[in-house]
């Protein structure tokens, strides 16, 4: 900490909140609110005279409320920067601290929160985690029985700088306990509260047990566990050491703790699973290893930075295996437990990785992005004509589109990841996606459906998942119908309703609308956008009177080659079930409806030239055949 504070290129802004974030990778603007400390940072020398003079005592959060602190305080004696702070919620304005400070004149009661804007190139989120409140589990009696404590409280009691100077005492009578039990998985691996494993509790309960056993070999220490998880380097050896020191490991999850009201001793009711017998053992003190949970205000940071959260509330990484330190927003990185529960070595490794990822951005003058970004045709955007729209901005999972009535919508190219959701959503065809323009996709469709379209299955696949699934089906030699014709787009969000209707107008036998599973989507919520639209298309086709077997929506991952081949084969079988003359008749009857629904596609710039080009190519092929 001190090294970081002395480093010429590190600027620590303690007691400061992020209020707003604007801009994009390499060019963020961040508004910071430096909360008023009521002590001038440049004058305070950290002598602590103000704290000595202060008559007010409040519980010390850093000591897990086991010790008091003054209203003029530093969180801990090693705080960096060492500047005192006055807690205005507790202060009674006696001004004794001002007297004590004397000539330094560092205390200023008129101080206000200070707002500043800073230019930054990259942002690293390292907001950590919070603790589960064990009093939510009534059967363990935390908060009701004085000698049931949490692991963090044990951490302070067992610390030589802590409130008891490292003397292990129990809260009810301040005597040294002789029998101590630790209970693992309190609130974690518990579907009633948090389903995840909190990762490091096994190790720190063993650590605390070893520390106690080393100092007090006569003390009886038992650990109640469901499974002991010691997967990392050296961890299993540490577990062995705890056994050698005589720590008792009891497999079984306690169902309740009861208390002797006179001695305040505790009875832990649990089945010893290995014995198959219910035990009710007496302990002097019980420690609960509570679950790690996301910071309660993680959602605020999530909306500030457009950094999405996983279902549990942890920040979502770009890719769980390949990019675990990147957030879905370019230039925002994650490290430590805010991304998912992890212990210190893993947090340090991820922090170093995040720092070097951020360094890549800071060291380059130009930043390369994927070329498949969206572009707005300003003359077509109705927002420019003074109408209220903004559909594209709502569709964008990255918040890359800004719009104002009276001005054409604007795509911030550096923020755009190229899913194409806005392109498909725009009702006026005013946005296009480079390399996946309507004209390009249409040209592919016309080429694939040029001959005997009624026999063809046109498969729209997303680049990341279902295209990979089809590829895997091929490389694994899973047979599927040769009538399948595939078109790749970046995301199922790009699949315009016009494409589907145009495919049926061209006479396609069947159409597959495929993409990632929702949790696998590479564009945060692109699949959700695609899935909603697919539902709408299905209803539209049903109301037009089309055979529902001719349209199918499937979410296929890159690992599901077998599913891809099965889906295509099922579609082929369904298509074979429709007699050819009925199919041809249905295509002809529906052609005017489809033409009407896909009419907007023809308004798109360059589409006419694509159509005339594919027509001429078609004629050339026919002439050659003739």
């Amino acid at each position: 900490m001190v090294d970081a504070a002395r480093h010429p290129k590190i600027d620590i802004r303690a007691y400061t909140e992020v209020e707003r974030v604007e801009g994009f990778v390499g060019n963020f603007k961040v508004q910071l609110r430096e909360k008023a400390k009521y002590v001038l940072a440049d004058r305070c020398n950290g002598c602590g005279e103000c704290a000595k003079a202060c008559p007010i005592e409040v519980p010390n959060y850093f000591e897990m409320n086991l010790a008091p602190r003054k209203a003029a305080y530093v969180p801990m004696s090693q705080s960096v920067p060492l500047i005192y702070n006055i807690d205005m919620d507790a202060c009674i304005h006696c001004f004794k601290c001002v007297e004590a400070c004397g000539k330094l004149e560092a205390i200023d009661f008129s101080m206000q929160d200070k707002y500043t804007w800073e230019d930054v190139g990259a942002i690293i989120l390292a907001t950590g985690y919070s603790h589960f409140d064990p009093s939510l589990i009534p059967e363990y009696g935390y908060g009701k029985y004085p000698n049931v404590i949490t692991a963090m409280e044990m951490e302070r009691i067992n610390n030589s700088a802590g409130p008891t100077h490292g003397d292990i005492v129990r809260p009810s009578d301040h005597k040294n306990p002789q029998k101590v039990a630790f209970i693992n998985c309190v609130g974690s691996r518990d579907k009633r509260f948090n389903p995840w494993c909190s990762n490091f509790c096994c190790m720190y309960s063993i650590k605390n047990a070893v520390l106690i056993k080393q100092g007090h070999p006569e003390m009886d220490v038992s650990i109640y566990y469901m499974d002991i998880r010691t997967p990392s380097k050296g961890y299993e050896e540490f577990y062995d050491r705890a056994r050698e020191l005589g720590v008792k490991f009891i497999q079984g999850r306690p169902s309740m703790i009861t208390e002797d009201p006179i001695t305040h001793n505790l009875f832990v009711h649990s089945e010893d699973v290995t014995l198959g017998r219910v035990t009710e053992l007496e302990y002097d003190m019980v420690m609960l290893n509570q679950a790690a949970i996301p910071q309660p205000d993680a959602n605020v940071m999530s909306s500030l930075l457009n950094a999405s959260q996983s279902p549990g509330g942890w920040f979502m990484e770009y890719h769980p295996k390949l990019r675990p330190m990147d957030s879905p927003t370019d230039g925002v990185f994650l490290c430590g437990a805010c991304q998912g529960v992890k212990d210190i070595p893993a947090s340090v490794a991820q922090g170093s990785a995040a720092a070097s990822r951020a360094g890549r951005i800071l060291h380059s003058d130009e930043w390369e992005i994927e070329p498949t970004v969206a572009l707005v045709w300003e003359d077509r955007c109705v927002s420019a004509q003074g109408k209220k729209c903004g559909i594209c901005a709502n569709a964008c999972p990255y918040g890359a589109i800004t719009y104002e009535t009276g001005k054409a919508a604007e795509v911030i190219t550096a923020k755009c990841h190229g899913c194409g959701g806005c392109v498909a959503e725009c009702p006026h065809n005013a946005i296009t996606q480079l390399h996946f323009t309507d004209a390009q996709v249409l040209a592919q469709m016309r080429a694939l459906l040029a001959h005997k379209p009624e026999e063809k299955i046109l498969a729209f696949r997303c680049h990341w998942c279902s295209y990979g699934g089809a590829d895997l089906a091929g490389t694994s030699h899973f047979d599927y119908s040769s009538n399948e014709r595939g078109i790749r787009v970046m995301c199922s969000a790009r699949l315009d309703t016009d494409f589907i209707f145009e495919a049926y107008r061209l006479g396609a036998g069947a159409v597959l609308y495929s993409g990632c599973h929702p949790q696998d989507c590479h564009y945060i919520t692109g699949q959700v956008l695609g899935a909603t639209r697919a539902d709408r298309i299905r209803k539209g086709l049903e109301s037009a009177g089309m055979n529902p077997d001719r349209f199918r929506v499937e979410w296929i991952s890159a690992a599901e080659g077998d599913k891809y081949s099965r889906v295509i084969n099922e579609m082929q079988a369904a298509l074979d079930n429709i007699p050819r003359e009925i199919l041809l008749e249905e295509i002809e009857t529906l052609r005017p409806t489809m033409e009407k629904r896909a009419r907007r596609l023809r308004e798109v710039p360059e589409v006419e030239s694509a159509i005339s080009y594919s027509d001429s190519a078609d004629q050339a092929v026919k002439a050659k055949e003739a």
Binding site: R189, G252, R253, P254, S255, M256, E271, V273, V278
Partner: protein, 199 residues
């Protein structure tokens, strides 16, 4: 690629409502240490082990396990289970399968004295397990279509509420909980009390 699915014992348990999610069991033992039957009545009673027997397809073991027959569905364990398994539902499903396979409860369940039952239906109302029904039955020396209480042995948990509420002492548990045995116990206890007072 097609594989034939074989219906295991666990699958059978799963298809009975209440028997789902048994494969989620951690085997942590919370249910066992929460259970009052295990602690106060029967040391061999163990829901965790019964779930394990069901998962591993040990159906004969499960049918002869006392746990299958003694669960009173008080549901003390259900709110404590970290995997949210409805344990009494699983036990009930195993019991249904045991009955289908021809096993029957080892408990000394309630028995109706057909000669004296008047068919008032009090016992039907008090039974917490819906094990008693009023049905017509021919009874020798009383009539051909007599409406009397009849006990479903496999639903009865031998709690004795019916015996306590019957006004004509026509329904009772057998062996050590029969009316005679209980009255004898009471006399013995009174004799002990009296001896203590005299001394």
């Amino acid at each position: 690629m097609h594989t034939e699915t074989i219906e295991t014992f666990a699958d059978k348990v799963r298809t009975i409502p209440g028997g789902e999610h048994l494969e989620m069991c951690f085997s942590c033992g919370t249910c066992v240490s929460k259970c009052m039957i295990q602690q106060k009545v029967e040391a061999d009673y163990n829901p965790r082990r019964l779930i394990r027997k069901a998962v591993f397809g040990l159906d004969q073991d499960a049918f002869s396990d006392i746990t299958t027959w003694m669960c009173s569905a008080c549901d003390l364990c259900y709110p404590a289970c970290p995997q949210k398994i409805h344990i009494s539902g699983v036990i009930n499903a195993v019991r249904d399968l045991a009955v289908q396979a021809g096993s029957s409860t080892p408990l000394s369940t309630a028995v109706v004295n057909e000669k004296t039952c008047v068919g008032c239906g009090l016992c039907v109302e008090v039974c917490p397990y819906e094990a008693i029904e009023l049905k017509e039955k021919p009874v020798p020396n009383r009539g051909q279509n007599l409406t009397i209480a009849q006990v479903d042995r496999n639903k009865c948990m031998a709690c004795g509420l019916c015996a306590a509420s019957c006004r004509s002492t026509s329904i009772e548990l057998k062996e050590s909980f029969s009316n005679d045995a209980l009255v004898d116990d009471l006399w013995d206890w009174l004799a002990v009390q009296k001896a203590e007072v005299d001394a």
